[in-house]
Structure formats: C-alpha cells, structure tokens
Subunit: 73 residues, 2 copies
C-alpha cells in the first residue's frame, strides 16, 4: 500500500513516459484533452490526484486504454 502522494507521482511519471514516447509536447496533449497546460504540468509532476475522467481523456489522446495508462508499480 503506497500512499497517495507516491501514487500521484507514479501516475504522473507514467503519463510523461507515454507522452514522450510519442513525442507529443505537454502543451499539445493538454490542449487535445482540454486541460490547461499549467494544470497538466502539475498533474505530470504528481501534484494532484486525478479523476478517472481526466485519466480517460489523456489515455484516449495517447491512443492507449485507461488500463494501459494505469500500469504503474
């Protein structure tokens, strides 16, 4: 059982990894998801505890499933 902050960090890193693998600038992905770039930055940095819908939008725009996006450890 990791704590909330650790989970947020892992999720943020996972998103960043997938995004960079596809060479998509943060602000571009944020725009596609209708998320402010500043808020997206905060999210990737593990600064928030995103909702499933936020993760879903990101997953869709990264062309992966939510299940794939949440493969953390």
């Amino acid at each position: 059982m990791i704590d909330k902050k650790q989970l947020q960090l892992l999720v943020g890193k996972r998103i960043k990894l997938l995004r960079e693998q596809k060479n998509i600038p943060q602000q571009d992905l944020a725009a596609k998801c209708n998320i402010e770039k500043s808020n997206f930055s905060r999210l990737e940095a593990g600064g928030t505890n995103p909702t499933i819908y936020t993760l879903y939008k990101i997953a869709e725009n990264l062309d992966v499933s939510v299940s794939e996006l949440t493969k953390i450890d």
Copy 2:
C-alpha cells in the same frame, strides 16, 4: 470517446462485478477502504467521478491492480 457519465457508470459496474465475484458486501469493502458505505454505493452506481487514489484503495482491497480494475469497455 464516451462521456463522463458513461465512464462513471462503467467504472462503477466494474467495481461491483469484481466485488460480487469475491462475495464481499459493499459495506465491508467500503470499510476496508475507509470510504463511507453511502459514498461507496454512490460510486458503484456511477454517481461520482472517482480519483485514482480512491480507485487504488478499492483495487488493493479487491486484490487486483488498478490496471485490472480499470479494464472497462
């Protein structure tokens, strides 16, 4: 791209399915996760857009990964 409400319904049903497969009463699982039973009911019914940490706690107490919990369609 499904909408937010549809996503919530799918997630709720997924949780309920896994919980029932393990024969765990809703209130028991809620208690393990430190979530109010009333709020847990609302969540399973698709009434809220849960955060990843909420889903993580549920996944842990269902002995599945978050990735497994979020296998929706």
